[in-house]
Amino acid sequence: MKRLPRSALALAATVTAMLAVTACSSGGDSPPAADQDGSTSENITLTFWGSYGNGGHSAQQDVLNNELIPAFEAEHPGVTVEYVDIPYDDLLQKLTTSSAADELPDIVRADLGWVPRFADLGVLVPLSDVMPDWDELADAVFPGVLATNYYDGKYYGLPLNTNTRVLITNPAALEAAGRDAPPSTFDEFVAMGEALEGTGITLFADGGLGAWNVMPWIWSGGGDITDAELTTSSGVLDSDANVATIEMLVDLYRAEKISSGIIGNEGAVSTSEGLPGGNYATILDGPWMTSIWSEQFPGFEPVFSPVPAGPGGSVSVVGGEDIVLTTASEHQEAALDFIRFTQTEKFQMALVPTGQLTVIKALGDKQIEIAPELEVFTRQLETAKNRLAITQGAEVDAILNAELTPAFEGKVSVREALQNAAARIDELLPR
């Protein structure tokens, strides 16, 4: 090799080193310059993370960016709200890493299952402590969704929007089964499965066996996952009522009346494609499906009805998002103003047509007026329940999936599976 001049070598080394250093730096946007007193007299920017635009459906994001945020900014001169849309699947990880790096935004629209775990990390401001008007705001919302913000004696957020799962039926499958209405009870549900035999239509499909998936069946069957005080799962999850409910599902699965997607087969046709596609007769899902299907399957008109009722009635699961304030926020007062704004009729009602159900009790009837197709969801929410309010909600889902899957495959009895799951959930419960 010919020798390069020393100066050229030095230059090359310096450039490489500089590249290396820049490559290692975080590369993230630096936070906006902060004014320490948090007053609204100067120009401040509130950063707001959420997943309104999930799945590329821009309807909700458009309302937020073009209508709601400008309205708030007009009322609060000097305050700019910068909404950052993050895909739902990435949001939890981004919040986790941002917590570790102390780079959280001011406000987050968080899945209601995440609030206890981030409250436990100490990165959320307890709203019940810092808002003088807390009682008033808390009284206005549905108690079931308010409860999702409770952790260790304090409330760390306010409900923002809610949803629940109802039974969605393909009208063609109803016809094939010779029915004029979706099944309204467990018995009718099983009977519809028999009526569909030979049609090539699978009675039911779901994407897993986590709490979101199985709790509507368990509650409707008259059972629960723990006692009301969250002290034990053993003796509750493995009750006779739950054994009967899960056995009903397992029997349907063994008879190939439930798709293998329920045990986590990624190769099964997804529920959102299989229902309009005619593979599946029924699924349990939320109000957002309408907008997904209107784009991909125009002309598909699904039938919405309450979760089939069992011995416990028709009880579904509460979903949705809460709005939380992080301890990283340097503009707490302005951020609290924005949180108050999200609880107003203007904010809540603007998002109803996009499939976001209101959390304000007094707005329920108005919501049905604006969007009559949401009536089933609104009514279902009256009895819907919240999942376990513990920090390890994700672990509960993993346990239910891991223990119930062998029961569906016929490798263990349903009672044994529920006993195993209960024993593992016991360990997660606060003593």
Binding site: L9, T16, L19, D102, I263, E266, A394, N401
Partner: protein, 315 residues
């Protein structure tokens, strides 16, 4: 190497003879090494030491919270965790199931492409294309191929009727691992082919010709001349493939998500689930450290096995 060394030594002795002084340490190699080393220290070494440290704690991700020191508890927990053993077993399965076909098929393709042909560059590109294609894209592609109503089931029932076409590939542990391994093999053959192709250029033609003159058959020439000559490449490919297979993550995460019920989890997906799903970074780090130890031991064993005993005899 040797030649250069001698020259350097000659020059040094010459200098020493004419002007006695301390031997100069050449700066140039260190300048070249510095950027890489700096990058390695900041982006690899430092995170590794942090991960090892985390593995001894019930690590809290927020800096203000105090993490409890657990000693070796996280490691003991892994050894008693049945899911850890499932993940380790799957990783081992993947390593074996992808290593052998990648070496055998990669070498076979390289031997075919070694023959001079005008279409050779085209084939080289075609075989290498999967290597440079995004893991995410091909993982999703393979998930569709192995779906219940996917092309694989269709091919195995309609085109070559060997099954009833009703296999739920991704719904069971071993069929799921076969599907994931199939992707690994398809994506990796091009890489091993490239290394072998380069190594084949170095097989001495004179020896091959001599063997032909001696009446050696094609197979004998391959066994006695080609194979020993590419022994170093064979060792390199094997070691790199084993390391790579223990690092499998994206394809598993996207094709099965470790499902159903964690039965197709590999070590990295399980580690990811523990760290980012359950925020149990201490346990996740312990799994990562165990993985590193396994890979290190395996690599050392292989290095020993492939040590070139005939070094110096084959130019």
């Amino acid at each position: 190497m040797t030649l250069q060394d001698t020259k350097v030594r000659e020059a040094a002795s010459h200098e020493a003879a004419s002007r006695p002084r301390r031997r100069r340490v050449p700066l140039t190699p260190y300048l070249f090494l510095a950027p890489g080393l700096a990058l390695f220290a900041v982006c690899v070494l430092y995170p590794i030491t942090q991960a090892v440290r985390m593995s001894f704690y019930d690590w809290k991700i927020v800096a203000s919270a105090t993490s409890e020191f657990l000693g070796l508890d996280n490691y003991a927990r892994a050894l008693e965790d049945p899911q850890f053993w499932v993940a380790l077993g799957n990783t081992g399965f993947y390593a074996v199931a992808t290593l052998v076909p990648q070496v055998v098929l990669g070498l076979a393709v390289a031997l075919l492409l070694h023959k001079r042909s005008p279409a050779q560059p085209l084939y080289r590109v075609l075989y290498y294309l999967p290597v440079v294609t995004s893991w995410v894209v091909v993982s999703l592609l393979f998930r569709f191929l192995f779906a219940d109503a996917g092309l694989v089931n269709f091919a195995l029932s309609e085109v070559v009727p060997v099954t009833d076409g009703q296999i739920s590939w991704l719904a069971d542990r071993w069929t799921g691992m076969v599907a994931i391994s199939a992707l690994g093999v398809w994506k990796g053959i091009g890489w091993s082919m490239m290394i072998f192709l380069a190594a084949l250029q170095g097989v001495p033609t004179s020896l091959l010709e001599a063997a032909t003159v001696d009446g050696a058959s094609r197979w004998q020439r391959f066994r006695a001349v080609t194979l020993p000559a590419i022994r170093a490449a064979l060792g390199f490919v094997t070691i790199m493939l084993v390391i790579g297979s223990f690092n499998v993550f994206i394809s598993v995460y996207l094709m099965t998500g470790g499902g159903p019920a964690g039965r197709t989890d590999v070590l990295l997906t399980y580690m990811y689930h523990q760290a980012f799903g359950n925020l149990d970074f201490g346990y996740g780090s312990a799994i990562a450290v165990i993985l590193t130890a396994i890979v290190l031991v395996l690599s050392l064993v292989q290095l020993r096995l492939f040590r070139d005993r005939d070094a110096g005899q084959v130019p």
